[in-house]
């Protein structure tokens, strides 16, 4: 089967994609409404917590960090898939990414924006958050450059601003199409402004290619560094269960994993809501599923490495934390993480499932549930069973405020994402055209040289 039909007319591509900017299905408005309602829950919780104090989250000594930090890592992790698809696969000339990279890139930006909010929500004095930035001030006070949290703040800001630039640069030719095709109104003005006078001349295309490639190359190391630095928050500490050298690669693998799983989820939703069946085809889905499977196995391997290195380390405190994870209060969640993260992806190895949309939808949600649990299981058990025995005497359960905030963050992300899809083309029109063109050229060439049948690429 082919990734995409080779005889789609260019005008039809424009028409199909631009249709997603017009009146959408009713389902779209339902999703939007639900997202806003979820966000409302989080806002309510934040107002309450802001007024009364962090204590309402049920955190205590020693449980100083909770779901906020866990969800922060989760959302940072989600952001990695966009860069993987758009930048890394771009450099590797994997052209099947073309119909789907735009929404993955948007996902990167919006999940980073969600993660940033969790930092704010977590702080005891959020109104002083700017102290963590090296801004000029009359007191000569600097932030502490030794702290991994400061590296975090810098890495996230850099990654967020770069990925917004990358998303925008890649969209310029499409914005010009929107400008030319849309009816009068505020959006036409917006597209006119954002498309920077794009006319599609040779010179513009050349400059565009170079810019896009440069930003892509710039973004790849950032994606690796940002999650390595999040891992340093834990790896650089002295606490058992955190002080593990393999954390940075483990975190990056986990990030790519949850990001790929999220791409499957959003792929299926967009394909249905905006009727993108022509572009988001099953063969492309199959390729992402295989990629996800591979990354799932890498993650499982790194997990095993972590357990083994703790087990054979002769560090009794770390060992105890591991034993507590597997048998203590958190055991159901820890085993849930192992099941969702390492066992469920095994189903993706079956060819039948690789194109079965309902099953894939469920599996992708389960994978992300597993990855969320993983982040929670990194953060929480170390607090309940740390080095110091006096802190072992009580368990702690996050209050509705924490859960409400986690719940609402999904609403915030969905809201941003759905609004984006309605305002900007979520499928890259010019690159789909390119893909269709290259594919048809290739078929033609193969036909002419008579290798068509031999290569086994005939239409089924």
């Amino acid at each position: 089967m082919k990734d995409i039909r080779e005889d789609i007319a260019w005008a039809k591509i424009n028409q199909d994609v631009l249709k997603s900017l017009e009146n959408p299905r009713k389902l779209y408005w339902v999703i939007l409404f639900v997202a806003i309602a979820m966000l409302g829950v989080a806002l309510g919780c934040e107002v309450y917590q802001y007024n009364v104090g962090m204590g309402v989250s049920n955190m205590d000594n020693p449980h100083m960090w909770g779901l906020y930090i866990a969800s922060f890592i989760f959302w940072i992790g989600m952001s990695h898939s966009g860069t993987l698809l758009s930048a890394i696969l771009h450099l590797m000339h994997a052209d099947w990414r073309k119909p789907i990279y735009r929404f993955a890139e948007a996902m990167t930006t919006f999940s980073l924006m969600t993660a940033g909010l969790f930092v704010a929500v977590h702080l005891g004095r959020v109104w002083q958050i700017y102290y963590a930035l090296p801004y000029p001030n009359e007191r000569g006070a600097w932030p502490n450059f030794q702290s991994p949290l400061l590296w975090d703040a810098m890495a996230i800001f850099t990654y967020l601003s770069s990925s917004i630039i990358f998303l925008y640069v890649g969209m310029i030719p499409d914005l010009a199409i929107c400008r030319d095709r849309m009816h009068e109104g505020w959006r036409k003005k917006l597209y006119t402004l954002l498309s920077l006078g794009w006319e599609g001349t040779d010179r513009q295309w050349r400059n565009f290619r170079v810019t896009y490639l440069t930003v892509a190359c710039f973004l790849i190391p950032l994606a690796v560094s940002v999650h390595s630095i999040v891992a340093s928050d834990f790896g650089m500490s002295q606490q058992p269960g955190w002080h593990i050298t393999s954390f940075p690669p483990y975190f990056v693998a986990g990030a790519l994993y949850s990001g790929c799983a999220a791409i499957i989820t959003l792929f299926i939703i967009l394909r249905y809501v905006f009727r993108f069946e022509e572009y988001m085809t099953l063969p492309i889905l199959k390729k992402i599923v295989r990629l996800t499977f591979a990354i799932a196995m890498v993650w499982t391997y790194l997990n095993a490495v972590e357990f083994a290195s703790v087990w054979y380390s002769h560090d009794q405190a770390s060992k105890d934390v591991l034993i507590q994870k597997a048998s203590g209060t958190y055991a159901p969640f820890w085993w849930g993480m192992i099941f969702c993260g390492s066992v469920v992806p095994l189903t993706l190895a079956f060819k039948r499932i690789q194109t079965n949309i309902p099953v894939l939808f469920a599996v992708s949600l389960l994978l992300n549930l597993g990855m969320w649990l993983e982040r929670w299981m990194i953060v929480a058990p170390t607090f309940s069973h740390g080095i110091y025995p006096w802190t072992w005497d009580h368990d702690q359960w996050p209050s509705f405020v924490q859960w409400g905030m986690v719940f609402g963050s999904f609403g915030w992300f969905t809201l941003l994402f759905m609004v984006f899809c309605k305002v900007f083309p979520s499928v890259s029109m010019y690159e789909v055209k390119e893909m269709v063109y290259h594919r048809s050229q290739e078929s033609k060439r193969l036909e002419e040289t008579g290798k068509f049948a031999a290569a086994g690429k005939g239409a089924h």
């Binding site: 962090m54 000594n61 449980h63 100083m64 004095r125 963590a132 703040a153 740390g386």
Partner: protein
């Protein structure tokens, strides 16, 4: 703010290893606690509440772990308690450990604070700047002893924490902390500073015994001694020397003896190398309670 500030003055606040880097002079405040003398009466803890304006959070928040006792008495039992031991509390075998901020020389909390709200002072204290703290709680996450306490609520305005008439009792030398900042034992820094300033104005150094911490003052059995470790004649220095405990070692003489020795001095979690400033004297008598 300038780059030169970053490059030149940095080492003043940050040491890779404060113990070797720059010896403390003329003061290094330190403590020693004799566990043999401690009867677990909690007077030190109460004195600390009074001296440092600590909020009394009430039963519910105490049970929840949101209590603010800078100085806490930890109970450990010789036998198993609870279900395994068959009884909720054993009749005998209680051991007490007064635990407060250990004022580590290479404090794990200092390096991780994103805003530099916790720093090392020249007289060897681990200071906390409330105004600078943004409440990321990373310091507490990285503290081996979990002796940092977070203001989960705005305690001064929370019901039943400071009844109106108790406002008269507040210590005017100590800030009342608002919600969202971290706090911890300061070795009664307000008393230290007052004594240091008085001594300086009189052109001398602080005498041994001139300044006491609130917990030390309240201890009925004199289990706590406090003083200047640099001063060769101070009680604390003599105790540390007698026990052959040294500030910049991660293993003390007591640990090297295979046979039981006369030495009782040790510091808690030394193997993690925070180089704490509090020496404990091991308990040798049978538990009385």
């Amino acid at each position: 703010m300038s780059i030169s500030n970053l490059l030149e003055n940095w080492s003043k606040f940050r040491h890779t290893h404060p113990v070797d880097d720059k010896p403390h002079d003329p003061y290094k405040w330190a403590m020693s606690i004799d566990l043999d003398a401690c009867s677990g009466c909690n007077a030190c803890s109460v004195a600390c509440y009074a001296e440092n304006n600590l909020p009394v959070v009430g039963k519910e928040k105490y049970a929840h772990g949101q209590v603010m006792h800078w100085m806490r008495i930890e109970h450990y039992w010789d036998e198993d308690v609870g279900e395994e031991g068959g009884r909720e509390f054993p009749d005998q075998g209680a051991q007490f450990l007064p635990m407060m901020c250990q004022q580590c020389e290479a404090a794990p909390c200092e390096t991780v604070c994103p805003v530099g709200a916790t720093n090392h002072t020249e007289d060897g204290l681990n200071s906390q700047i409330y105004n600078r703290c943004i409440g990321s709680r990373y310091c507490s996450a990285n503290c081996p002893y979990k002796v940092r306490y977070f203001n989960w609520f705005n305690y001064p305005t929370t019901d039943n924490v400071w009844p109106a008439e108790m406002v008269q009792q507040l210590n005017p030398d100590v800030t009342v902390r608002g919600k969202g900042v971290m706090e911890k034992c300061t070795f009664c820094v307000q008393r230290l500073r007052a004594a240091e300033v008085t001594a300086k104005s009189e052109g001398r150094l602080v005498h041994d015994g001139e300044v006491q911490t609130a917990c030390q003052q309240a201890c009925p059995t004199s289990a706590i001694s406090f003083g200047n470790l640099v001063d060769q004649e101070s009680r604390v220095h003599r105790q540390w020397r007698a026990q052959q405990v040294e500030l910049d070692k991660d293993k003390q003489a007591k640990d090297d003896h295979e046979e039981p020795s006369e030495l009782r001095g040790y510091r808690i979690l030394e193997n993690m190398r925070p180089y704490p400033s509090v020496m404990y004297l091991e308990r040798v008598r049978e538990s009385a309670i």
